[in-house]
Symmetry: C2
Subunit: 363 residues, 2 copies
């Protein structure tokens, strides 16, 4: 994240009355805290002991069973429980990338991936460009909420390079039709990433990485070196939670919840900012708003905060960090549904004010 953006976002969460469209956080009111506390009560002390790097067997068996239902047969021993999806990405990079490698990324891409890839000294190139590795969110992209087309999926499977498949939001596709992971089609070249952060809660830090069998030992070694093991407290809680609660029912309810909020955001945008463009998100927490404007997005964020709202500036999602043409991620996930229209009204006022501000436009 641009350091200026981080400072602004840190300030925005402390600003009383600000209606934020930034962050892309899950809605805290959906976190099953009481159920998780009950699950911990039933946890045995030895489940909180040190563990082997790959994570708890029951947790990995559950992940393998979920993948099997989607058509990907995976040995639980090829699964590594990680500290969220971000650590799964980091370990994937340690296994598959070297300094100077080219990594193909979507035009609007999850910023945590872009920053990580750059930190490895890799060159970021456009999707479908020749590369050593491609990063993709095939079912629900962050920030756009779109799914890959069949052609795009086919091209990725046919390409002869590493694929990092980030399925963080896949289970939150609004129509519930979650396709087979690319893992099923290219087991030997796919490093598959998943997480419970979007569907249970981020604070658990339970994610996972599925590696080709030949990388099993190397993946465990990297995990051991970087932080020994996953969080057994969280895994134990999750295992107990999953045996006593209906996860699929929870997913169905979350899909309805987020789909309704996405709809509210789209209605407000069409009414109040009709000159802006977006693709209807098929799932996830956000949409990607594009404009023909050449305003600086960080300056626009400053104005937005004065107007009582905020957004995620487009530069953080672009491989070259470009501010222009103006784009932004707007998240509908954590803002109360009843506040969405007012937040967009404030965003529209932000655009009006920007239009009257000299110097916001690049030369």
């Amino acid at each position: 994240m641009d350091p200026r953006v981080e400072r602004l976002q840190r300030r925005s969460v402390e600003t009383q009355g600000l209606l934020s469209l930034a962050g892309g956080l899950p809605a805290a009111e959906t976190f099953p805290v009481a159920e998780l506390a009950r699950a911990l009560e039933h946890t045995r002390a030895d489940a909180l002991q040190y563990d082997w790097p790959e994570g708890r067997a029951a947790m990995r068996a559950w992940i393998a069973a979920r993948l099997a239902k989607r058509g990907a047969a995976v040995d639980p021993d090829d699964i590594l429980v990680t500290s969220g999806a971000q650590q799964a990405l980091d370990i994937a990079l340690r296994l598959a990338a070297e300094e100077g490698h080219r990594i193909a990324v979507p035009n609007a891409c999850y910023p945590g991936a872009l920053e990580l890839f750059a930190s490895y000294g890799c060159e970021l190139v456009a999707a479908e460009t020749p590369a050593n590795l491609a990063y993709t969110m095939p079912v629900v992209e962050n920030p756009t909420g779109r799914a890959l087309t069949d052609e795009e999926r086919g091209a990725l499977v046919a390409a002869n390079h590493w694929l990092v498949e980030d399925d963080a939001y896949a289970e939150l596709r609004f129509d519930g039709h979650v396709p087979a992971p690319l893992l099923a089609a290219a087991r030997e070249r796919v490093l598959h990433v998943g997480t419970l952060s979007k569907t249970l809660c981020p604070g658990l830090r339970v994610g996972w990485l599925v590696v080709p069998p030949r990388l099993r030992e190397a993946a465990r070694r990297v995990k051991h070196e970087t932080d020994l093991q996953g969080n057994t407290l969280a895994q134990s809680i999750v295992e107990s939670y999953l045996s006593n609660n209906d996860y699929d029912e929870r997913l169905a309810s979350l899909r309805r919840f987020y789909a309704q909020k996405a709809e509210a955001l789209m209605v407000a945008l069409r009414r109040r900012l009709p000159e802006c463009l977006f693709e209807e998100p098929g799932g996830g927490f956000s949409l990607w708003l594009t404009t023909g404007k050449s305003w600086d997005d960080v300056e626009l964020l400053r104005i937005a905060m004065r107007c009582g709202t905020s957004f995620d500036p487009g530069r953080d999602f672009r491989r070259d960090g470009a501010s222009r043409p103006l784009a932004m991620r707007l998240a509908f996930s954590s803002i109360p549904a009843g506040d969405i229209d007012e937040a967009v009204a404030r965003l529209a006022r932000t655009f009006d004010e920007a239009a009257r501000t000299p110097g916001l436009t690049g030369a």
Copy 2:
């Protein structure tokens, strides 16, 4: 860890009736599971949300207050909550080490540190040798349980290189006299590591790294890239636990508990293996047994497992991975006190059997 040792240790934990002196785990019966479950009940949902990379403010304030009591004044903003002490070491290396750097380590050293340092392409050299960075556990060393002498502390503080100070076991010094961290004497050159894994439970994965103020932003950036943030679930539980329980009383009780087990191990060793040498541990979970023998330690472990016990082979603690002269870590921490004498009797039988086994001795 030597892959053969890992396979043997994995098998040993599944072997019924084996009395293990390996692992160096805290005793699971000391984990305050019921108290942690009550703490989670009192946690608010928004505490389980995404967080900034540095970790929760209350957790960092508590860590700073503990350090202040030991004479080290640290701004909580220079503390990063990590996924255990191991991740703190990894981030310290990312901040301070480069490929080819020389890292000075104790002659008997925590294996997780040795493996990590080697993975960065660093050269491991003996303590008090000229180096770019020194790794030290000044209060309670793993595996020896010893503290640095005043002269050794002085030499580290006077040296003009990075110091990674690993205080994982410091609070478990049996006499309760926990000296000031080296951090207090060389704030600008010390990367200080701590953890709750030994005193509450490892499954929480709550550790920390204290960095010099000029590295604050860089440390947060590395944490964000590698796994976004610490576990807010665990931090929230710990915060609530610490406000409702007396941590110092817990420490006092743990010190007595582990000191008694250390004593039982020393009594048994003096009686049953009088030819072996060890220094009395001043704290922690283990002692370091040295011998004049030239047996291969992995072969000896195989014999030990047939005799119904196990230990951690010395090679994993040595910077050059040497098996000889034979040494081993013996942990008293997680074996039931009543089993210690029988475990040592089995180890003595192991030595007897080894003495009759041809080919165990190096040419």
